[in-house]
Symmetry: C2
Subunit: 294 residues, 2 copies
């Protein structure tokens, strides 16, 4: 058995096409161009390049992208004032505050300073609360978790009534993905760094989300035959035979897992590209909602 | 084997004594009397009696209790104004908004209208978000979930590294209890109404929390020998032989489970009395914090 690839590159390309077409329609019918503001505090090179990618993808999809670059030493009040300006700007439908923030800033309060209807990254505390509770929907769910679920949906992997196991309760991926899967009707297990039998817990999974930051940790015998395996890891490991002397790997021992699983995401080309595609979807949705409310 | 009782009545009596002594000390040393405001909208008899019990227990512990009774037909703005008054009142350290609210009111927004430092019931959306995420602590966690964990702690039941299974993802008990157990280092499973093998999932548990509303549903063979079983159910069932013609039962088939489990809560006298005891603890803590901040 060889697992079918959950191809994030192909799927995200399809989503970007869908979004581009919907943006065209929105312009033609309502004269509205969806706008995303990315807010970057400081000049961390990784964050800067990541924000740049988001802006570029927005523009390619016909959206309006504004990069707000704030000085490393900005105070809390000034950051909140910048967010308030974007909240009030009718050309901006989505606001993404790039995390982490410098130490002097209160991340919680800053995220709460984004208008709920523009919280396309889904980390406003009210949205995290709604993600946790049943019977209420966040205005937007965080992009990488939503991208994982979108991949499962597009490949016809059932969630309802199945066992989902999330390895690694991280705030950015593990926990939000867990809550999305639970509320889609999965029996949800979240493993903790103190979990004693990680392979045993993993083997229960019909859907296994590897969100621990350990290159190649999930082995073939951690996976139930036929399971869908989502790898959210991304690490560079040295490899003398590879171009540039390194290669990119995920949390999953890919070859071994591919021989057992029913579906598996490749790394690179799995959950990574889905994240920006979902951000575009969320921004489009924010713009569409602004019309029905306006 | 007969399980040891997780005796909520005795434990909550001990907590109330501890709180009463700490309240005395707070009065003597700082002249501060912890104050709780319970806010009840409308006149639902069950809610009214429940709020009344909370007020009475507060007063018995030497605290100041204010019952704010608002008319059934109150509007959102007026409710928020009442909460703002209590937020500003230095004699009030904790505010409990009795749920559910009448239909015309926005529960989410009302809960967010309580000052975080006075949110002793722990349902402010920021507190639910903090309960979900790792690395951040809510100002207060919801009382019944916290009471369940407190019972485990007081009886020396380890949480870290053990398997916890929560049956029933309710907003009031199941989900918050699940998040508390996860962040205390448990491997956490949450079952959903779509879970296909509830007995099988339950049998994994070292700590089993029965938060489904089904009298006697958890049978003896759902329980791993030696597990700790927390029953948050409370139902009246007809019983011709009992006084008044009914008796109170939980979600657990008590006799059968007691023969297998290591620890089990009785119903009544388990998690119920713990809830109000923890509310008193939270209110005391709010008053203590107000001194160190004031």
């Amino acid at each position: 058995m060889t697992a079918e690839l959950l191809d994030g590159r192909a799927t995200s390309a399809r989503i970007r096409e869908e979004v581009t077409a919907a943006v065209e329609q929105l312009k033609a019918e309502h004269g509205v161009v969806p706008g995303l503001a990315t807010v970057l505090v400081g000049a961390d090179p990784a964050s800067k390049s990541y924000v740049g990618m988001k802006e570029k993808q927005c523009e390619r999809a016909g959206m309006h992208a504004v990069g707000v670059h704030l000085p490393e030493e900005i105070g809390q009040a000034d950051l909140l004032a910048e967010l308030a300006k974007l909240n009030a700007d009718p050309q901006i439908h989505g606001i993404l505050l790039q995390l982490p923030l410098p130490e002097q800033l209160d991340e919680d309060e800053a995220l709460a300073g984004i208008a709920l209807e523009k919280d396309v990254d889904g980390f406003h505390p009210v949205n995290i609360a709604r993600l946790t509770l049943q019977g209420v929907e966040p205005t937007f769910a965080p992009c990488m978790p939503l991208g994982c679920v979108e991949l499962l949906d597009r490949y016809g992997v059932d969630i309802e009534g199945r066992e989902a196991v999330v390895l690694g309760p991280s705030n950015i991926v593990g926990l939000p993905t867990a809550m999305l899967l639970l509320h889609r009707g999965a029996t949800l297990t979240i493993c903790h760094p103190h979990t004693q039998d990680l392979p045993g817990a993993s083997r229960r999974a019909d859907i296994l989300v590897a969100a621990i930051d350990e290159p190649g940790m999930v082995k073939g015998d951690w996976v139930k035959p036929g399971a869908a395996v989502i790898d959210v890891g991304w690490s560079r490991v040295k490899d003398g035979t590879a171009e540039g002397g390194y290669r990119v790997v995920g949390n999953v021992d890919f070859e071994a897992v591919q021989a057992v699983a029913g579906h598996v995401t490749p790394v690179p080309g799995g959950t990574g590209p889905m994240t920006i595609a979902v951000l575009l979807q969320n921004t489009l949705l924010a713009a569409q909602r602004s019309i029905s409310c306006g």
